[in-house]
Amino acid sequence: MAWTWFHKFGSPPHFYRLAGKLTPWFAWPALLLSLAGLYGGLVSAPMDYQQGEGYRIIYVHVPAAVLSTMAYATMAAAAGVGLIWRMNVAYAVAASCAAIGASFTVVALVTGSLWGRPMWGTYWEWDPRLTSELVLLFLYLGYMGLRAAIEDTARADRASAVLALVGVINLPIIHYSVDWWNSLHQGHTLLKMGKASMPASMLVPLLLMMAGFTLFFAAILLVRARGEVLRRERGTRWVGEVVGEAT
């Protein structure tokens, strides 16, 4: 029962159609949640006792950082599925994650840097979390570079999949580095056992932004993956049918 769903999803024409239908269901809620989060974060959340209004960078920095790691996890998972089940759609999804993930890794690094300067006096520290986030950016660039350097799509898919999977080890390092080492970064704010150490008025906009960014990622991924699938299935009949009819 689950297998038929799985194989259906892996079939390019089904994926193309399903992704097209799902996109608005991710895109519009993403917009609404992000707008609500923005209002909450910029306007209604109170000033912080220690950091004044400057802490509000958190409302873009944390969602961007979460997106950067989520995109990589998705990329690695899709690549793994592609390797194991030889599924073209999975490879298309993996390839589509890279640019999104890389761009938001840059956002996380830059916003983190801008937050760090007034608060802790420095634009950059070679502390474990910042360094592993930078490593994440290099992993994305390596993935995209490897894909670009290999002409044969199938070989590019498989080689970049191996790379993506090897790089997964970076994700727990990013997450747990604040536990393992004394670092400039604050410890886990949200995931501590029991109550979060942030008041609700500050926490809710952050959760809204994180949810909004997650849905945004899904929407963009679906759009890109559809294009990728079309390119890969060039010349097949279903593509002809789909583009022959009016959009």
């Binding site: 910029l42 306007v43 000033m47 004044g52 209004e53 400057g54 509000r56 960078i57 873009v60 920095h61 961007a64 640019a99 999104i100 761009s103 938001f104 840059v106 956002v107 830059v110 916003t111 801008l114 937050w115 300067r117 007034p118 945004f216 963009i220 759009v223 890109r224 559809r226 294009g227 990728e228 079309l230 390119r231 060039r234 010349g235 593509v239 002809g240 789909v242 583009v243 022959g244 959009t247």
Partner: protein, 54 residues
């Protein structure tokens, strides 16, 4: 209002952060949609060539 705009003095850090994020969001939307659009028109062109040619 001035206090909000100046973000209590942190405006050179807060507003560029938000603007960068907004820029990257918009860029992603634009590039993704363009990628799909070009894939579609590319496929359409091939279809026409197939039909008119050979």
């Amino acid at each position: 209002m001035m206090h909000w705009l100046s973000m209590g003095g942190y405006w050179p850090f807060v507003w560029p952060s938000y603007l960068l994020t907004l820029g990257v969001v918009v860029l992603n939307i634009f590039l993704a949609r363009r990628s799909l659009r070009e894939a579609r028109s590319d496929a359409r062109r091939r279809l026409q060539m197939q039909r008119s040619g050979s």
